[in-house]
């Protein structure tokens, strides 16, 4: 895959925007834990931004419900190109335990094309850091081809 300069730079300075589309809050706590001293994603230059317009990476936790689908789409559209979406937790990947609920649409892929999935209920902050580190080093693509890895593109 050919990548533009901009994508190259995004990998070196991934600014995150966190959106909970209806999860149980378990994943949110792990996302916050990834910012704390032990894992400190700021080592990679990642900072949590307060406005989607500043962010490069949208972090989605929880299943997409009928109510949040519109907001999720709107937030993703507001982010400036190029942008990346990461689904954290099994719920955000596929719907998880909430799958099939009357109010649940499913994973983030129902709204956004091309989501990087980090499964786990909730995933360890180390996995979140590892995913961002792989993104930083541009090794994500290789992982995908291996098959059976933790990081899958569903």
């Amino acid at each position: 895959m050919e990548e533009s300069n901009s994508i190259k730079l995004i990998r070196k300075s991934p600014w995150l925007f966190h959106f909970n589309s209806g999860g149980c809050n378990g994943c949110d706590i792990e996302v916050v834990a990834a910012l704390t001293p032990k894992y400190d994603v700021e080592r990679l230059g990642a900072v949590l931004t307060a406005s989607p317009k500043h962010a490069d990476i949208l972090i989605i936790t929880g299943p997409v419900t009928r109510q949040t689908a519109g907001s999720l789409k709107m937030i993703y559209e507001q982010m400036a190109d190029p942008k990346i979406a990461i689904a954290i937790g099994t719920c955000a990947c596929s719907g998880g335990v909430f799958r099939g609920g009357y109010n649940v649409l499913g994973g983030a892929e129902k709204v956004i094309k091309n989501v990087i999935c980090i499964p786990g209920c909730p995933p360890n902050p180390r996995q979140i850091f590892a995913a961002l580190k792989k993104l930083y080093e541009n090794k994500l693509e290789e992982e995908k081809n291996d098959g059976g890895s933790k990081l899958t593109k569903e």
Binding site: S4, N5, S6, L9, I10, K12, S13, W15, T36, P37, D40, E42, R43, L44, G45, L48, T49, A50, S51, K53, H54, D56, Q78, M79, A80, D81, P82, Y136
Partner: protein
């Protein structure tokens, strides 16, 4: 004499480039110091110790597309970064960073600082109000309140310097400090008030109400993206560096120090060391402080700080009377 304009232009370019890159260095120092205080590491992988991180952030934002919403006042949106960057760089040329005499100077150039600060604030307002959403309006409103209050205090502490040194020319004030002692020894209260109000002026914690996270999204910056965000962040960094350099110039005697008058290269080095020391003090307060919850608190802090300045003025007046 014919080479003087040429020399000035070369020095202008050199000082401008130094100012541009130093502002990134200071952001790195700040981020690293705050991270250390919070037992984190801070930027680490990009460059040695993550030193290129702020610059990469800047490049990244420049290379991104802009998401401009409908209804944005494009004139304000485009003009604000130009005003801020130009005026701050111009202001920096009036500070004696490279050598004892600033690149540009004229009689009474302390007043330039007032203009520079006014226009920096104007550029923030223009960027904030170029698109009026609830977030930007609330954020800009808070910014106006906080800025007008604390900048007044910040600049009033310079009035006391004018009172003591008897000159509103920056190079004269520096000379006064080299002949006597740095002004911080005469006016310690004024110095503390200036440093403290600097935090409020730069919207750093505990005074980061204008863009208090989650509360009002990113405050007045919410609607900025891409290039404009890159330049507005650059203006923030430049404002930080400029204000610190100003305190170093006016209170700590610029780059003066042992052997500085014999060896010319020592001047910028001393200046940088003093500036870094102030940046570390500011980062320390930033790192340990919690954001004040109510907007009233930072406003109420204005009164104690003002009274402290009055006390300093009275002490100064008595001291001067005694001398005369």
């Amino acid at each position: 004499m014919s080479s003087a304009p040429l020399l000035t232009s070369i020095l202008t370019i050199v000082a401008g480039i130094i100012f541009f890159f130093l502002s990134f260095l200071f952001e790195w120092v700040e981020r690293k110091a705050v991270a250390r205080i919070q037992k984190r590491v801070g930027p680490y992988f990009t460059g040695p110790g993550g030193i290129f991180q702020p610059f990469v952030d800047f490049l990244k934002l420049l290379s991104k597309t802009e998401a401009i919403s409908k209804g944005t006042e494009l004139l304000f949106y485009r003009a604000s970064p130009i005003i801020g960057v130009t005026l701050l760089t111009y202001g920096f040329l009036h500070l004696p960073f490279l050598s004892q005499s600033p690149v540009l100077n004229f009689n009474g150039d302390l007043l330039v600082i007032f203009i520079v600060f006014a226009f920096t604030c104007l550029s923030y307002l223009m960027a904030g109000l170029s698109l009026r959403t609830p977030f930007t309006v609330v954020g800009t409103g808070r910014l106006i309140v906080q800025y007008s209050l604390y900048e007044l205090i910040f600049l009033s502490s310079f009035a006391l310097i004018f009172f003591q040194a008897g000159s509103a020319t920056i190079s004269d004030i520096v000379r006064y400090q080299m002949i006597n002692r740095p002004l911080v020894l005469y006016q310690p209260i004024g110095f503390i008030v200036a440093v403290f109000s600097l935090l409020a002026k730069l919207e750093k914690p505990p005074f980061d109400l204008p863009h208090a996270k989650q509360e009002v999204a990113a405050g007045w910056m919410s609607e900025l993206s891409g290039r404009t965000l890159a330049y507005m962040r650059l203006i923030g960094n430049m404002d930080y560096l400029f204000s610190i350099s100003l305190i170093v110039t006016l209170f700590l005697g610029g780059g003066s120090g042992p052997f500085a008058s014999q060896i010319i290269v020592l001047w910028p080095i001393y200046f940088l060391i003093k500036a870094l020391a102030i940046a570390l003090v500011l980062s320390y307060i930033e790192g340990v402080a919690v954001r004040v919850r109510s907007i009233l608190l930072p406003m109420r802090l204005g009164i104690p700080l003002t009274s402290l300045l009055v006390v300093q003025a009275v002490i100064l007046a008595i001291w001067r009377m005694g001398l005369w």
